[in-house]
Symmetry: C2
Subunit: 745 residues, 2 copies
């Protein structure tokens, strides 16, 4: 070899890095993983019909006569047959078998001749996703004999001539999704199996009825509500004036189960993770929103819903989920209760017990920081330019029920998951599962996002006074405003259930203090200053007001001191979004109030509808903040009150005597009560078991005029149900109506 | 009002949802948050030069003569001045002041007249991001008097005629990033302040030298290595044949600090979170890779790096980070050590102590599942089609040092963060910070991703035998193969340091068993079967082999029984990627070995270079798996060995007598030792304080020929350093060379 010098070929620019040019790099995983990780339930790998043994011996296709041949496989999949009944899956509108894990189901196989247990060897094979593997739990053979058992158990229940009824019990921790099923017969030449037949595909769901399942819920009433109930109630409005919204979760409707599996596929969630309710719920909390990952729903709080459906306009989840699965595009638009409602459908559909809860005065976007700051100027008036935090009037999230083997004992049970994208949560638009027990006891160190949820129910409201040179002085801390009330629907009833005590110990109790101290150990910082309490109290009344009404606000000043007190007060009224964000201030009064020793004085403020009507946004809420500075002591007093304005109602009337398969009518009536026209009006209507989602569009409803919409429908199952309707337009959101009815068989 | 009936305007399709048409929806946050959350350090809000007080009083611009006027502000920012020296930021190549939090720095202000403490009121104001707010820690006024103090403390150090030297101590938990600085003077009319001047912008970094900082590291030697050292060593190769790679982290190079801030801006990380090292490191672990979030580096394990730079070709982080910041596009390509190295630069640059560690035999992509499955067929031979898990020969990640206030006491200190995208980690391509203490003790329930890292060092290798009918039978569990060795560089030295004991208790110890039991409590499942131990051992030798060499593999069979044993063995040799993924099998032997009672037999296998040379990929590793079935007992014996092939070396020679600012030369020499040509060859070279990254491209190096590249350079600082060079081309990866040198002042 010669030692020739090679002349270097100069590169275009010797010191600059070679910036990639041309087409974008195509990166494969060759060298990274042996096979791509199966993350789609719709991808399948066909198993060969004949798999010859590699061992020496006679070759060729085995003679058909000698060994078992399969003539028919009956999945026993009709809703009125044993499998669906025993597995609580009768209501699913699907042509395939749907069963739950950890519980036996049956399949009937007809051979060409009677089965001889001593000689014949066959197995049922279940496979899910691409590249199914036994060690990953994605390929499971099930044997009929007790000597030979795999992870799922099998047994012969019955033999009748050529027909064998086999019982199969999937592992209570198996993967949830859609499986392919094969019957395989062993011959000395190899394995012969049935061809793939999509009518034999079966869905295996979570099973809250079985003790070995991580989602086991040992309470029939709760289980019936949180898994089987389609029609729900979501609470909104304000603490002190709670409003209800009916919602049709529709988890059994045609296409919904497939849409739920599609959501997991779309998220590239590995198939092997889909048996773990912790992983499924965490992933799904990210996938419900379109941030990061092209998930189900586009959030919009802007008031402009021109290019989609207003969040206030939806009546149920079915339309949203089936649209997402068919368009493969995020659906517009959602706000918190829409995220929670659609997530609830997902969870109930897969068999994870779940409920929607509403937290009144929910601290937000504060990333585990336990405070919401309100800035007053040096005269005691709120400084709206500098007050940037907001407290949501209410926020909806979900609870789902499961064990938590990843945490120390005691943190199983209800878990918070939240699909509403939180701007500053752990960098991702997802939240939970966070153990409700861990939140109650301040163990915010446990995954996932417990500190974040803890702050949503426990933050302090901190008032600062801003001095002339720009520095802030702490003037008041309100530790009880946030997380005032947590509600969910009562199982089996249409009433509300207060579950605040599951999140918090009673105010002022020793346990409450211990909890807050525990949370502080884990980095939740609180404002800890012993401010002297002001000796004047300021109380704003609770009011119920309808949209368009004039009303009076009677503010009370109570002097608890033995001296006269003069208060320079500011009363500010503004229109707010339900997120607590101020749209516009429509009223400001600044009375000076003089109160005798140990006396109280009422200050009456008249609010005329014309002052607020032109400013209304969304779910119409008025927010009053009263602040004042006591002249004698310099102390600051404050009070806040949200007044939700009540909307008019829709009248929903259903014809008498409902029977399965007999046509009925429903009529929706509405009268525009205002002196202005309503434009761009949608009415949506649906009812579980009676009507799939329908809508009508009205370009104009003139001031004072009425409309009537009559629709025919045919109930397809018996029982109590409700027809719900919502009217929605930019000028008037979420006008609701409903009618209860019972369908006879 | 008349009760007219409005005719409904039929919508296009009454039952279909109104699919959005036209331009995509523009969603704003109006109604969602009061102001957008500040998440960019490059966005700033200019503070007004004059801010009149709203209170009643005289109006108009204050007379300039009466109050303090600011003539000059000296940031004392030069590297040779007091601030940079005391704050250990001398080495940063930047024109701005760079200091660390929790420690005083100085600013000199020259007024128009002497400062009168009793009458004059002024403050220094520091602001970061848009909409700076005092309550969020993004706007901080600092006062010169002890009566009046904000969150950061200030004092007058010195007054000299018109000049005041002020000392400012930022809070030890303040936000890390680039601040604007203003001097504000209070007048009775309002606040007057200096105009924004970018030369007065200052960077505030984490401070490992200060006890109040969450990243405080009380060990001078470690701190010097993990914060201040630019040239590092990253270990690779295989357990038993460890190789080293030099890497220039370059954290002080021009543009690197700005690139690190850009990475956080690009991730939309809220400014308010940037003081918390837990949040900063977690977010950055996601941002180092381009998955999900258009982060810094594109991963590629395919062997085809045509459109970018081969992962094996980089010599340091500078080129990567500055390219990312200027192109605003992910940089191609990376594998694990590149992710870890660039992440290390990010961490050291911001002042978080960090080091790159290498775990030998790292279990991967198993999502906290404690096992790696190897499938043998019924004759005992490995079934490569069905063996889909892989064990990486090594994997690199980072450790960073910090307190963990979010966890119970005892879990602070070193934390694992990993920027290499893991396919099946918690749904996101990020990992950590996970407490090393928590991993060691099996407390895998603590965030973040401790279970995942625990599995990387503790998984079992599980051998299955696949029977003819497709079911698997467990035949062997190897609990000690994975996580055999964890290495990092010794502080202040170029030797390796074994830190395996920080991750694991000694094998077979009581503590080890307790740890594994604890981890199992938290859902890490292990294979627990008492398989009888085979009485034949199979041992593969450790070898050191150069690329192109023929060599012998002397496999030993040891019979520990008192009877004769016959083993039908399979010895499979394949070329593997460092990820353990098999590229191609180049050798297979199937000897039958007979071993007398309590005897051993050696089986010699000759491996010729021609058999493997044409199959080589990437970092050339040969992987030998020997398996066998003992005829008498049916038991399976196994052994595995990775043989990394040693590459030729580059010769790097530096001219004698280096002095600051005096030109020197470096020469890189290489001879192609092969009988084939090398094509598309890049050589990269750099050295801290002496040479910024340079590269040359050679289209062809003919078989047997040599090349010489000579480069001039001018050292810009004194001290010991190294010049490192790498030659890389598709046929021959990472040929390294280096030269140590000392630069005199």
């Amino acid at each position: 070899m010669s030692d020739e010098i090679v002349t270097p070929t100069p590169s275009p620019s010797p010191s600059a890095p070679p910036v990639p040019t041309g087409p974008p790099p195509k990166v494969t995983n060759r060298g990274r993983t042996a096979v791509p990780i199966a993350s789609s339930n719709s991808d399948t790998t066909d198993v060969p019909e004949f798999e010859p043994f590699g061992a020496p011996g006679p070759r060729g296709f085995p003679p058909l006569t000698e060994f078992l041949d399969i003539w028919d496989v009956n999945m026993i999949k009709r809703p009125d047959e044993i499998n669906r009944k025993q597995h609580h899956t009768v209501l699913y509108n699907s042509d395939n078998l749907i069963v739950r894990r950890g519980q036996e189901f049956q399949i009937k196989i007809t051979f060409n001749r009677p089965y001889k247990p001593a000689e014949d060897k066959f197995a049922l094979e279940f496979a899910i996703g691409s590249s199914p593997q036994f060690s990953k739990g994605t390929y499971i053979p099930v044997f009929p004999t007790s000597e030979r058992q795999s992870t799922w158990t099998g047994r012969i229940i019955n033999t009748n001539e050529n027909m064998v009824t086999m019982g199969i019990t999937p592992l209570a921790s198996c993967i949830v999704g859609k499986y392919n099923m094969y019957v395989a017969v062993m011959t000395p030449f190899g394995i012969r199996r049935t061809r793939r037949d999509s009518s034999r595909d079966l869905y295996i769901l979570f099973n809250p009825w079985v003790a070995d399942d991580a989602v086991f819920l040992d309470d029939e009433r709760e289980r019936d509500e949180c898994v089987m109930t389609e029609m729900g109630i979501i609470y909104h409005g304000a603490h002190g004036d709670i409003a209800e919204r009916d919602w049709n979760y529709g988890q059994f409707n045609y296409g919904v189960l497939d849409a739920c599996l599609y959501i997991m596929d779309r998220s590239d969630m590995p198939i092997t993770n889909r048996g773990d309710p912790i992983k499924v719920t965490r992933k799904a909390s990210a996938m419900m929103n379109s941030r990061d990952d092209e998930g189900v729903l586009v959030g919009n709080w802007s008031g402009d819903y021109t290019y989609g459906v207003a969040p206030t306009s939806w009546t149920g989840s079915t339309e949203i989920l089936t649209t997402y699965a068919s368009s493969k595009m995020p659906v517009a638009y959602a706000q918190c209760w829409v995220y929670a409602a659609v997530f609830n459908t997902f969870l109930r559909c897969l068999g994870i017990p779940s409920r929607v809860v509403t937290n009144y005065y929910s601290a937000h976007d504060n990333d585990g920081n336990l405070r919401t700051d309100i800035i007053l100027d040096d005269t005691g008036r709120i400084d709206r330019n500098r007050t940037k935090d907001s407290i949501w009037n209410y926020h909806c999230w979900n609870e789902c029920f499961m064990t938590r083997p990843d945490l120390p004992p005691g943190f199983g049970g209800w878990q918070v998951v939240d699909a509403t994208p939180q701007e500053t949560s752990d960098g991702m638009y997802r939240c939970g599962p966070a153990s409700v027990q861990a939140i109650k006891h301040g163990h915010t160190c446990y995954p996932f996002d417990a500190a974040f949820v803890f702050a949503e129910v426990n933050s302090d409201v901190v008032f600062y006074s801003r001095s002339r040179d720009g520095t802030l002085e702490l003037v008041k801390v309100n530790p009880t405003h946030v997380g005032r009330l947590v509600l969910t629907k009562t199982p089996g009833d249409v009433s509300r259930r207060d579950i605040t005590d599951q999140y918090k110990f009673p105010e002022g109790s020793t346990e409450e203090r211990t909890t807050l101290e525990k949370a502080e150990e884990y980095g939740c910082k609180r404002e800890k200053s012993n401010l002297p309490e002001a000796d004047v109290d300021l109380v704003l009344p609770t009011l119920e007001v309808s949209v368009g009404d004039d009303f009076e606000l009677n503010m009370e000043f109570i002097n608890r001191s033995d001296e006269r007190r003069v208060v320079d007060a500011y009363i500010s009224g503004s229109v707010v979004y339900y997120t607590g964000v101020t749209s516009s201030e429509f009223m400001l009064r600044s009375p000076r109030v003089t109160i005798g020793p140990n006396k109280s004085v009422k200050e009456l403020v008249v609010v005329e509808s014309k002052s607020y009507m032109k400013h209304l946004v969304e779910q119409a809420n008025l927010h009053f903040i009263a602040t004042g500075k006591i002249k004698e002591t310099g102390q600051i007093v404050t009070a806040m009150k949200v007044v939700p304005l009540h909307n008019p109602k829709l009248t929903v009337t259903v014809s008498e005597g409902g029977k399965v398969s007999e046509e009925m009518t429903v009529t929706v009536e509405f009268k525009n009560p205002f002196s202005f026209d309503l434009e761009g009006v949608y009415i949506r209507m649906e009812g579980p078991g009676i009507l799939m989602p329908k809508f009508k569009y009205y370009s104009l409803i003139p001031a004072g005029s009425s409309l009537t919409w009559t629709e025919f429908f045919t109930p397809h199952r018996a029982g109590s149900t409700r027809m719900i309707a919502i009217l929605d337009c930019p000028a008037l959101r979420q006008v609701q109506g409903q009618a209860s009815l019972t369908i006879e068989p």
